[in-house]
């Protein structure tokens, strides 16, 4: 630790999280750990068929069962909800139609979990089956029945077509053009804690809900809407999440049902999902088919890139519109792209709904882009690391799609891993069966826009200063294990010169804490951190003003450190922090401050410009080393080198933990994790258990060499950017590129399972091209593109004149099929 720069007292030093002791002693209360007197247990009856009209629900026998206190069906909670204002398509209990196996039809509250479960067996549901739509291709071809009655047509939920400059002309003028197809399979969060909620209704008309949610503010809004209660009568407390990863970001039907059952019975009600239910609740990674065609010059500079995505959304909207936009938003922020076109489609199928998982919509296109670049580099005879370094998007710049880039440490990241992994000595030089591959990525430090349109802050903090010298931080942010509570304490302690241990943190309670939008989009350190910084600076100013008067020292000479305020030119002259609070309180009354954070306005003004902007972008580069067994196809990853541009580490040991955890999850997605449904068995989940849904154990996890790049960003608190999601992204493509280096086959599909590797190896051994991956992108009725000139072609962020912004019309003539026979794959 010796030679490290010590610019700050707290920021930048490794230390325990504020909740570390509670967590290692088992004292942290998760939602299912809460037990209230007279508490009932709720259970949801879930659909056993994938798509059907509900003809009849007979609950008489269940109601008659001894110990049952309430039974609900769809008619009891008729108001729809959903996380996005544009897709309020869910019901707490389905009123007339089920859309996937696992959809909720009825609910029971009973005096024990066993009785509640037994009561579910007594509910009789009569279904009238509807045609089941199992694949995105089937969704595109099936106009009736429609899973939902909204969206541009049939079972298409969302179509996007954005063009930044004339891409066809750019491709025509490029030195080299290549097109590729990729498929990223769906996978799920698999947080160790199953979702749970406890609701309590008081006879004075107040509802309290404790829930393992990442977004208590949005749950608060959904409860008010569905239960028709004033938000002021509802208190939502997000309990510490036993892992989130995006899987607890939607308002869920079990939360609403628990609340409704508590209101009906006047007793607390707990609903804890089983692991199988968690698999069906899902909201995980969208399976995404991708086509990319790009034209480069001889140095590998992107003259034009055309990217298409097709997302299998499952049965509901969830975050899907945002997910779809995200599959096209961040291709431009790593390497400069002169002209860019993105066409994205999300379709409904009768499967558990997809939503946001760590990286939300961006790991899929990142996989495609980084493998595509690996192939381009080979086409051009260039080193793929050099190609990337030569064309980095510059710092403090605008991208083709009008995203504003601030600090940009990707070059430093690439150089770190290239040196660390001895890339130049090893790439294309390792013996057969061993290989290394490189890939990079970027991610948001918070979404630039909120889920619902408003002009209020994204994060708020209140500080209470106590006469005894303690400081309490109140913030709506939710700790899901990433350490957001600790970040608040570190920042306030840094500014006020007190010990972290003197800070109390109260978070995620809609009665007590100012709104923070939630733990998603890697927004919390930057946004709630900035709010805490502002509140702390305001408190510091008050204390300094009073201390300055009392000590008779100019305000600019008053320093704060070691729980004292003192004259920086004569440190003996001073007072304790507690005395400073007392002096200020005597002078002007109770001392409290507020801080808030609103992201800067993004330059994009076209429809769709709301997804992609962020106050700051993190950058990562990774090199994966693999060993591939030619006889079995088994891929082993012994080591990954990763460098992450975090801006500044507020607490480096926790930043490392986020990087390592991201690499781990990326490795799982790369090699094994996949949501699979039995198409010949009504789309039942093939593997809804932790044994059969393969995730990496200690024996699968690789060694990780981590480099933190600290290039402070002006938008982040102390320069900090995100770390929780971005480092996942480069891992799957780095592994795929390493597999090619090892055995010369391209696996253009995630997960990279032994079966796929073996198939590609056999294909190559027989003289084929040695590729496993999709071969066709289906026809999609794309709308007329919204044309937005890039900044360097005079664009001001608005759609070009004559383009009707927001036109959702379908132009049949634009139907196109990108078909890529395997034989074309290696034509260069």
């Amino acid at each position: 630790m010796g030679g490290r720069e010590r610019r700050y007292r707290v920021v930048g030093s490794p230390r325990r999280k504020v909740d570390a002791v509670a967590k290692v002693t088992g004292r942290t209360l998760f939602a299912d750990d809460i037990a209230l007197p007279r508490m009932l247990f709720g259970k949801l009856l879930r659909s056993t068929v994938p798509h059907a009209r509900i003809v009849r629900v007979d609950t008489a026998k269940a109601r008659a069962l001894d110990g049952v206190r309430a039974v609900l069906t769809g008619g009891d909670v008729p108001i729809p909800f959903g996380i996005l204002p544009v897709s309020q398509d869910e019901h707490a209990l389905c009123p007339d139609r089920v859309r996937f196996i696992g959809d909720s039809v009825a609910a029971v509250a009973a005096v024990s979990e066993d009785i509640a479960t037994a009561a579910l067996d007594l509910i009789e549901v009569t279904y009238e089956p509807l045609e089941t739509i199992g694949t995105p291709e089937a969704a595109l071809e099936t106009t009736q029945p429609r899973i939902h009655d909204y969206g541009p047509a049939g079972n298409i939920h969302k179509l996007i077509d954005l063009e930044f400059g004339d891409v066809d002309a750019a491709l025509a003028g490029a030195d080299h053009v290549r097109e590729d197809l990729f498929l990223y399979g769906g996978n799920t969060h698999l947080a160790m804690e199953q979702h749970a909620a406890v609701a309590d209704w008081s006879a004075d008309g107040k509802l309290t809900l404790w829930s393992s949610t990442q977004t208590p503010h949005y749950v608060h809004r959904a409860l008010a809407r569905v239960l028709e209660l004033a938000p002021s009568r509802i208190r939502v407390i997000a309990t510490p999440n036993g892992g989130g990863f995006g899987g607890k970001s939607d308002p869920f039907n079990h939360e609403i049902v628990a609340a409704k059952l508590a209101m009906l019975t006047g007793r607390p009600v707990k609903i804890t999902l089983t692991r199988e239910e968690v698999f069906y609740c899902h909201r995980g990674r969208h399976p995404t088919l991708m086509w990319v065609k790009s034209g480069v010059d001889r140095t590998g500079r992107f003259k034009g890139m055309h990217f298409r995505t097709l997302l299998d959304g499952g049965a509901y909207g969830s975050y899907g519109v945002a997910s779809a936009y995200y599959t096209g938003a961040l291709q431009t922020v790593t390497y400069h792209v002169d002209r860019y076109r993105f066409q994205g489609a999300r379709v409904f199928t009768n499967k558990p709904p997809c939503g946001p998982k760590r990286g939300h919509g961006t790991p899929q296109p990142r996989f495609a882009l980084e493998v595509h670049i690996d192939k381009l580099a080979e086409d051009l005879g260039m080193d793929p690391a050099e190609l990337r370094l030569a064309h980095l998007q510059p710092p403090d710049s605008l991208t083709a799609n009008h995203l504003r880039i601030g600090s940009m440490g990707l070059g430093a990241c690439i150089r770190k891993v290239v040196d660390g992994a001895a890339w130049k000595e090893r790439f294309r030089k390792l013996p057969d069966g061993r290989g290394i591959g490189i890939a990079c990525s970027s991610y948001l430090s918070g979404a630039g826009l909120p889920i619902y349109w408003n002009h209020m802050p994204h994060s708020g903090v209140q500080l209470k200063l106590d006469r005894g010298g303690g400081v309490t931080v109140f913030c709506g942010s939710t700790d899901i294990g990433q350490g957001s509570d600790s970040v608040l304490a570190y920042i306030v302690a840094e500014v006020l010169g007190v010990a972290v241990e003197d800070i109390a943190v109260v978070t995620a309670d809609t009665d007590l804490t100012p709104v923070d939008l939630g733990s998603y989009s890697s927004r919390v350190t930057l946004m709630s951190g900035n709010a805490a910084l502002q509140a702390a600076e305001r408190a510091r100013d008050i204390l300094v003003r009073h201390a300055s008067a009392k000590l008779d020292v100019p305000a600019e000479r008053v320093g704060l450190a070691d729980s004292r305020l003192f004259d920086v030119e004569n440190p003996e002259l001073g007072m304790t922090f507690a005395e400073a609070v007392q002096t200020a309180e005597a002078g002007e009354g109770t001392i409290g401050t507020v801080g808030s954070y609103m992201p800067p306005r993004s330059p994009g003004r076209y429809r769709g410009a709301g997804v992609g902007p962020s106050p700051a972008y993190s950058y990562s580069a990774a090199i994966a080393e693999v060993e591939v067994d030619r006889t079995s196809g088994i891929v082993v990853v012994p080591r990954i080198w990763i460098a992450h541009d975090v801006g500044r580490s507020i607490n480096p040991v926790n930043v490392l933990g986020q990087v390592e955890g991201s690499v781990y999850m990326g490795l799982g997605e790369a090699l094994m994790e996949e949501m699979v449904y039995r198409e010949n068995r009504n789309l039942v989940h093939k593997i809804p258990s932790m044994l059969d849904y393969k995730s990496p154990t200690t024996l699968d996890m690789c060694e990780v060499v981590t480099y933190l790049i600290e290039d402070p960003d002006r938008e982040g608190p102390f320069g900090a950017k995100e770390v929780g999601q971005g480092p996942l992204l480069p891992v799957p493509p780095a592994v795929a590129n390493a597999v090619y280096d090892a055995v010369g086959v391209r696996i253009d599909e995630v997960p990279i399972t032994p079966e796929k590797v073996l198939k590609a190896i056999k294909d190559r051994d027989k003289g084929g091209y040695g590729r496993f991956g999709p071969t066709r992108f289906p026809a999609i009725p794309w709308p007329e593109p919204i044309r937005v000139p890039p900044p360097w072609e005079g664009g001001d962020g608005r759609a070009a004149e004559g383009d009707t912004v927001g036109a959702g019309g379908v132009r049949p003539s634009s139907v196109s099929t990108a078909s890529l026979p395997v034989a074309e794959e290696r034509q260069h």
């Binding site: 630790m1 490794p14 325990r16 909740d19 570390a20 002791v21 509670a22 967590k23 290692v24 002693t25 088992g26 004292r27 942290t28 209360l29 998760f30 750990d33 037990a35 069962l65 024990s112 066993d114 037994a118 067996d121 698999l190 947080a191 160790m192 804690e193 199953q194 510490p240 036993g242 892992g243 989130g244 990863f245 089983t274 692991r275 899901i480 294990g481 990433q482 350490g483 480096p652 040991v653 930043v655 490392l656 933990g657 990087v659 390592e660 955890g661 991201s662 781990y664 999850m665 258990s689 932790m690 995730s695 154990t697 200690t698 024996l699 996890m701 060694e703 990780v704 981590t706 480099y707």
Partner: protein
Amino acid sequence: MASRRPDPLATAQIRFDLNGESTTVAFAPHKTLLEVLREDLGLTGTKHGCELGECGTCTVLLDRQPVLSCLVLGVACDGVEVRTVEGMTDGPRLHPLQDMFADLGAAQCGYCTPGFLLVAEALLASNARPSREEIKHALAGNLCRCTGYLKIYEAVELAAAKMRGDDFNPEEETLYGRP
């Protein structure tokens, strides 16, 4: 269906050593040790991830050996010795494993942590100087979705060093990454 359900009022009673204290508890006879600990004894430090014996989250020590408490019936625990995370601290002092997990951020969400701590404690009781490979094998039955396991290995290694009386300061790379 209802007729096959057990008598909801039936109870079984056991006496066992729980975290060093002789304990008597009565509970519905079909309950697992996990349920007895959490629901009948109020010890919610033991968590559950699947209740099917797949994830290791609910691990406790039964007669000093790690077991999945979701697969052990409460009635099978009469006369045994059970240790849960609540019993790991020495009075107000953290166990060296708890200290090191806290220092290195080896507990992120903390949900799987009690299970990992107890498996690691059992490992260190039989092997004071486990290699990285031995640690990996000992912990292979416990899933963690947050950490990627690496900080957990390092915490176990440092705790082992501390318990042996060796130097247990973490490497600079463990705290700051590779320079």
